[in-house]
Homo-oligomer: 220 residues x 2
DNA sequence: TTTATCGAAATAATCGATTATTTGACCTAG
DNA sequence: CTAGGTCAAATAATCGATTATTTCGATAAA
């Protein structure tokens, strides 16, 4: 969905869409919270029409729930849904990585190395938002040459859903360290063209990451 | 996405969304065609705001393409994309059916029998739109108890995409007959709780159906 | 002949105001 | 007291008009 809108002077609706999307992923609005349209208009300094268009897109994308005549709500969070999202990510990203390892060219290898390098640096030297961006880019780079546009689309969508949980979770340095090590391992396996093992590690990575994310459900 | 909007007095935007979705699936607008907003307003007798909201939803859903400052276009059709959609359907619906066979209860069995019965009757005695509705319902009933909301969501979305091709294709009685026979076979295997074989038949069914759909790409 | 530029017409996006619906407090009948 | 009903305030949805951008034909320059 992110690149559904083509280039060209960004319209107010697409600017507000991206801002709202980021704020939703970062947990600025609480789960289940009702979004007052006139309040949002004041917050983002934008007219009603583009704002409503952005909200409609977000609802169709799955980050908001729309009830006729009752406006928009942030989606609820539940451990059950996190399990569902995790299982889907394992399935889809695992498959995509297998294909990417088979189809990826030298350019892909370079991109992958670069993405991991930037991510590693950012882990110690950049603010969280910067790291989040590079983390998304790394995982995207990993599966990019899988050859299926629809697979990539669903993966991105699930990634956004997953991040709503993960970004809400408290820090857990030990798990984070193991997750970072897996990033490196994935790069190595990808370059070695070991599709089978790469898939296994990615699936473990997603499961481990879901353990971090699950901590967000155990908050008050 | 179809049930994203909850009950309650349908709003103009959601009514127009559903109408447009049906018309897009039925090929009322040509692939790649530009949708003039003011023309649509006249056609559907609706104001600009709800119309634009519906178009935004459809773009986020993947039935339209939106370019900033240049309005909305119907998505193009291509054999390559049909292959992608078909492969994704095989993967996702195949997995969903396995799960459904494992989890489905007696109520599911009844629903399945009923859905197939209605579909079979409609094949000879109902207009095409009626058959299309029942056909969607049958395939939905098949995988409904798979236990994963996201899996079902993606399956529905892919089904809509697939139907853009299939409904455009010319009749092919021989293939249609084999496809109908597979519906019966799927019901039998589901009731017999033969998950493995049911999955195989469903994947064959989707592939065979894509052969029909592919005929739409060979038109002028 | 081709390419570039300008400007009017067409069309998309946005705004401000209006209408419709829901919410919740208050009241009354049972 | 409680259930149901009424009404006013709050909020969502929609409309009509305005603004911004693109498109395309006509003209001029290379």
């Amino acid at each position: 969905m992110n690149d559904t809108i083509k280039q060209g002077g960004a319209t107010a609706a697409s600017r507000i869409y991206e801002m709202l999307r980021q704020d939703l992923l970062n947990g600025r609005y609480g789960a289940g919270e009702r979004l007052s349209i006139s309040l949002l208009r004041d917050t983002y300094q934008v007219g009603l029409s583009p704002l409503r268009e952005a909200l409609n897109r977000l609802a169709a994308y799955g980050l908001l729930r729309q009830e006729n005549q009752r406006g928009f709500r942030v989606l609820e969070l539940s451990p059950e849904e996190l399990v569902d999202i995790t299982e889907m990510r394992r399935q889809l990203e695992g498959r995509a990585l297998e294909l990417a390892v088979q189809h990826g060219d030298e350019e892909w290898e370079s991109q992958l190395l670069a993405a991991n390098h930037r991510l590693t640096r950012a882990a110690t030297q950049a603010p969280v938002v910067e790291w989040e961006l590079l983390h998304s880019r790394f995982h995207n780079a990993l599966v990019a040459p899988c050859g299926s546009a629809w697979l990539l689309r669903f993966i991105t969508q699930l990634h956004d859903q997953f991040d709503r949980y993960r970004r809400l979770a408290p820090r857990h340095d030990e798990l984070r360290h193991r997750l970072d090590a897996q990033h490196q391992e994935l790069v190595d396996l990808a370059l070695a063209r070991n599709a089978r093992r790469a898939r296994e590690v990615l699936e473990e990575h997603i499961t481990l990451s879901s353990e971090v994310a699950m901590l967000s459900c155990e908050q008050v």
